[in-house]
């Protein structure tokens, strides 16, 4: 149970993500499509929608009987639904759209790293655009694409929120939902089975990650990074530009506008109804008022602020010390530290949640059932991502600067304050914001570890939805998207085009 489903779901959603993200990246980087610089802004929007929110939006759109798209489908005279939200194809579609932003960023970076001189040589030899694409561009992209596909596949294997929302009730299980089911859905909980699923998931993701690294090392044989500073030739789309714009429009409509619209619409109604003037007459902000005035809403906000604040600052603090230790010292064991810090990347959030729950139940401690156990678990989970920011930043600071400080008589702390902190601040702020956004979005860890006083926003949203309050869930989703959107805008402004932020 779960193995074939998880491979099908992961492979399917990877295919959707690569097709959507890949075509959009190609249009942005390599074609003369007008206004193509708007495409990244459109593709970034799904990033600010947590998977739980996307799942809820797509249930409103594809619920077999009342879903907006299925009602429209029936309105056209068709029998039965266009696509049921509670099916494998719907899970693949929603997860695919969810991963399309990452696919766009990674494939875009792969395309940018290509050496255009090889294409120029082909054009110079009289090859047509199509021939150059097929014989030069695509083969050059293959190694990079293979890496992207593997990375997306790993993300697909680890996904929890979409399979939980769309697959759980129709008994379509993947690994993460199997772990959740064995610990929360059967009674008494089957820890043996939960551990077995967790370990299999770890083996699968570690295997895929090793394969990914091997692919990356192989891709260097294709040496496509060029030091020459000229832009590759843009492909003239000609009449195909209409098709290209139709595709961008389709993505913007289906991936961004429709889910956002249905969430806002549902949040304004006392109970879900398809959009109409009649339904509009009963629209109000009652769901927002109900959500904000609920007993523990402000406690949830406080917990979420503590979780995101402490996790992101804590991670960047640990990561910068570790990066300094790894890159600036010759102490034995630093390679091991680097490996240990990267290890959680291969372990899914659900498996980390299970491990923390069992561990903190097994000995006397004051952390169980508090926000601090969730903070710790998220820190372990996102330390590898935080360290990507600090590794890159530490390596860029030349050793001469700190040597000069030491030669001038400054001690360790003064060097840290005068040299390191000012130079590292941009990377630290970017990293903290990115980790904070992830922490706020992801449900899988907190859902296993929260207690009476430590509910956070993602769990609260899940709880409200689970209790059968779609209007309030939609209102909470809109609020969450607003907060995450503001944070993302802030992060991108601070990032100023940093590739580390974009690709992390």
């Amino acid at each position: 149970m779960g193995v074939s489903s998880v491979i099908l779901e992961s492979a399917g959603s990877t295919t959707v993500a690569v097709l959507l993200g890949g075509i959009l990246a190609f249009l942005t980087e390599r074609t003369d499509l007008r206004f193509r610089h708007f495409i990244p802004a459109i593709v970034m929007v799904p990033l600010i929608m947590p998977s739980v929110v996307k799942g809820i939006a797509w249930i409103f759109l594809l619920s077999p009987r009342i879903g907006l798209l299925n009602q429209a489908w029936r309105g056209l005279g068709f029998q039965g639904p266009l696509l049921s939200a509670y099916s494998m194809p719907a899970m693949i579609w929603v997860e695919g759209i969810s991963m399309s932003t990452l696919s766009f960023l990674l494939i875009g970076a792969t395309i940018r790293r290509m050496d255009p001189t090889l294409e120029e040589a082909a054009f110079g030899s009289g090859a047509s655009t199509l021939k150059v694409l097929a014989r030069v561009t695509l083969p050059l992209l293959v190694p990079g694409l293979a890496g992207v596909i593997l990375l997306l596949f790993i993300r697909g294997i680890e996904s929890f929120e979409v399979p939980m929302l769309l697959g759980f009730n129709s008994r379509i299980f993947v690994f993460s939902t199997n772990i959740y089911y064995s610990l929360r859905g059967t009674f008494p909980p089957d820890y043996g089975l939960g551990f077995a699923y967790s370990m299999t998931l770890v083996v699968l993701t570690v295997g895929a990650l090793l394969l990914y690294q091997k692919t990356l090392s192989h891709s260097e044989r294709y040496t496509v990074v060029s030091g020459k500073g000229y832009r590759p030739r843009l492909i003239m789309l000609g009449p195909w530009r209409y098709t290209a714009w139709a595709f961008v429009g389709f993505y913007a409509f289906i991936g961004v506008l429709l889910p956002l619209f249905i969430l806002v619409w549902s949040s304004l109604l006392p109970f879900y109804r398809a959009p109409s003037m009649k339904a509009l007459s009963v629209a109000s902000f009652a769901n927002y008022v109900k959500v904000v005035s609920a007993g523990d809403f402000w406690l949830v906000l406080k917990n979420t602020a503590i979780l995101t604040g402490v996790t992101s600052v804590g991670i960047m603090f640990v990561a910068v010390l570790a990066s300094w230790f790894i890159h600036r010292t010759t102490i034995r064991g630093r390679k091991l530290l680097d490996f240990l810090m990267f290890l959680p990347y291969a372990v899914s959030g659900m498996a980390i949640g299970v491990a923390f729950m069992i561990l903190f139940l097994s000995f006397d401690n004051p952390l169980y059932n508090t926000i601090w156990i969730i903070v710790l678990a998220y820190m372990v989970n996102y330390l590898p991502i935080g360290s990507r920011f600090t590794h890159a930043a530490v390596v860029q600071i030349h050793k001469e600067l700190e040597e000069a400080a030491w030669a001038s008589g400054a001690g360790f702390w003064r060097t840290l304050r005068v040299i390191w902190v000012p130079l590292l601040i941009p990377a630290l702020v970017n990293g903290a914001l990115y980790v904070g956004i992830l922490t706020m979005k992801v449900l899988s860890i907190a859902v296993l570890l929260y207690g009476p006083d430590s509910t956070v926003l993602s769990v609260y949203l899940w709880r409200v939805w689970d209790a059968g309050n779609p209007g309030e869930s939609a209102a909470l989703s809109v609020l969450l998207v607003f907060v995450l959107g503001t944070l993302t805008l802030l992060a991108r402004r601070l990032a100023r085009g940093s590739d580390v932020f974009k690709e992390a």
Partner: protein, 145 residues
């Protein structure tokens, strides 16, 4: 609603009384009066009362009122669906770190807890006011609708 061990049988009776009062049942203070001192001493020692389950939120007002009357007890509600609640109780009981005192969730879930011997038999004066045929024979929880 079911009750989970620890020293809170008496405290539970008060909470249940408050719950029943909210539901329109008459309260009888004589039953609790004789045991009040013992109950308060035990409650002071433990300091915290947690009600958990899918219906835990519905007890918020009662808990708030109770907390005002007995400020030395911190009242907490842990809201989760039935599966989450009963499995958490099972995990905590197994490890000896039970944090939940009372369960307010579906009777299916409570029945599983009763079968696993994870809830105690409930005794409180208003029990006889509830039609016996609507209640489980083992008496480890009571249900209302």
């Amino acid at each position: 609603m079911g009750h989970i061990g620890r020293n809170f049988k008496l405290l539970l009776a008060l909470v249940v009384s408050l719950g029943l009062l909210a539901l329109g049942f008459p309260t009888r203070s004589t039953w609790a009066d004789s045991l009040r001192d013992e109950m308060i001493a035990k409650a002071k020692k433990e300091g915290e009362f947690v009600v958990a389950g899918s219906n835990a939120d519905t007890f918020r007002d009662e808990l708030k009122g109770f907390g005002k009357k007995y400020p030395f007890i911190t009242m907490k509600a842990f809201t989760a669906n039935t599966g989450d609640t009963i499995n958490r109780i099972s995990a905590e009981a197994k490890s000896g770190k039970l944090s939940i005192d009372t369960v307010a969730t579906s009777s299916d879930g409570l029945e599983l807890l009763a079968k696993a011997n994870l809830v105690e038999k409930m005794e409180f004066p208003h029990l006889k006011d509830i039609p016996a045929e609507t209640q489980p024979k083992h008496g480890r929880f009571f249900s209302y609708s």
